[in-house]
């Protein structure tokens, strides 16, 4: 891997941000590093840091330059960065596994056959592989609470569609480039709509507005359309019938 030479790379973001980038593509180690460094910087509780986040392969720190000058925050982040090899850092503590009832294909998720064909698989085989894979919340972004999940097997490294699907609903499971996105609100997308859940990632009206944290894992278990209808009519907590357990290992 070439990251030992070029990465991690520290750059400024606008007037009041710092970005540490671990790779120029999404890989498991770079995502692990981004999550872990973000956690370590949060632990420092630095006066003047306003907020932090982790994207697919980078850690972002926003600060108030009047209280925490650029040179100082760069020094502090350098110090943290030099503490260890972040590419092998442990994942964040308190992670959870969500198992979410999902209708694959049918009229609810009409692009499954297309995605299976693009992956060179039969529809049944695609459902089996997708539903057996435990994927990790790599980052949350673009829309509130909306996770990027991966990695899926290399056979699912299929491109985005050229034509956007005008609208997919909340709870849609969409697929491209060996990742899922679990859609948090109605949106157009170029990713293929392969599954439909009743899981709500963002529940602004509830005490716990955000369902997921980066590092959590998800598995999408096949159910019938009738079962999903039953869940929709009985389950009011936004989980869409999902089960949740702590990951202890």
């Amino acid at each position: 891997m070439s990251h030992a030479i070029q990465f991690p790379l520290m750059r400024t973001v606008g007037f009041d941000g710092l970005l540490v980038t671990f790779a120029d593509t999404m890989t498991e180690p770079s995502n692990r590093a981004a999550l872990a460094l973000r956690g370590a910087i949060e632990m420092q509780k630095l006066e003047g840091v306003v907020e932090t986040s982790a994207s697919l392969a980078s850690t972002y720190v926003r600060f108030d330059p009047a209280r925490l000058p650029h040179a100082e925050i760069e020094d502090r982040v350098h110090q943290v960065l030099s503490q260890r090899d972040w590419y092998t850092a442990p994942l964040p503590p308190g992670r959870r596994l969500w198992q979410v009832p999902t209708v694959y294909g049918t009229g609810l998720a009409p692009q499954l056959d297309d995605a299976a064909a693009a992956a060179g698989l039969s529809t049944e085989d695609a459902i089996e592989r997708l539903s057996q894979t435990r994927v990790r919340v790599l980052t949350i972004g673009f829309a509130p609470g909306q996770p990027y999940l991966g990695p899926l097997g290399p056979e699912f490294d299929i491109p985005r569609l050229k034509e956007l699907t005008p609208i997919v609903p909340e709870g849609a499971l969409v697929l491209a480039i060996s990742q899922f996105v679990l859609i948090s609100g109605p949106t157009p997308t170029g990713w293929r709509h392969v599954g439909q859940t009743a899981f709500r990632c963002f529940r602004p009206e509830m005490e716990q507005s955000f369902a997921l944290n980066p590092g959590d894992e998800m598995q999408f278990l096949p159910v019938s359309q009738e079962e999903l209808e039953e869940i929709r009519s009985t389950c009011e907590d936004g989980t869409g019938g999902a089960t949740c357990q702590e990951i202890t290992a």
Partner: protein
Amino acid sequence: MSLIVHRIGPACTIQDQGRAGYLDQGLSRSGAADVLALHEGALLLGQSPTCAALEMAGKGGEFEATAPIAIALTGAPMQASIDGSPVIWNASHQMAPGQRLTIGSVLQGNYGYLHLGGGIDSEVILGSRSAHLTARIGRAIQAGDHLPATGAGRSGLKLSPDERFAGGVLRVVASFQTALFDDDTLRRFTRTEFRRGVRTNRMGMQLNSDGEGFAAKGQLNILSEVITPGDIQMTGAGDPLILLPECQTTGGYPRIATVLPCDLPRAAQTPAGGHIRFKFVSLEQACALQSAHDADLARLPSRVEPLVRDPHDIPDLLSYQLISGMISATE
């Protein structure tokens, strides 16, 4: 106590300074497009700049007081009257129960603000009262709504703010993707006079220019990365988009530079067709400019004056109703 909304423009929302700390959950800050206007309104009513106000994009509405209440009007100047008598912008006024405040269309700029004594006391969601329409937090204010307020606040004051409603030169710093643009493109970017396009909302404001667009190397293969308000994003067509408080939190289109926070109110207030140029400053210069801005903000109270003066001042007083009579005190 509240203000009843009888008529309202299509893009009016409650805004405060927004919510920080949810970037990691994909939720951008939201908050007033012109934060300076929040400070000005708070000062005119003698309250905290953290109070929420009604942000009115382009067009106001008609509001009826249910109890005695102090109000203030700031940001983009709009036609305003109470029970048919014109009232001046950038001032605080007292309303009696049953009186109607009418706010018309914007005369300059984009975003006008209506502040209520004690601040608008709407529901706090995730630490802020700011609507964030793309995130489905809050909604646009509609006729029949009530704007609740605690009702304290002083009135009878005015302020002469610096001009910020006609575009101009926006100071920018290089950001982590600036180097993706070659030197010729960057030079052309700073020499181009842009016009604000018609496509604009609280997510972003489109700019147009004559000549070819602006593109980065390998533009289509960039990993999605963090976005901050003020970022100037190049769209696929090569036109810049200045990102505003409701921008997405990550994105794949490259950002050529970032507008300084102190220049963002002026960016957001640039009217359609208004001219904008960009000037790169170093990070050190940016810190100095931002500090100077913060110091100006701290001195804002010294610029507040009583609204009513001696009778011999009346001709002068009338002149404050002419928007073109506004004076810049520092530039």
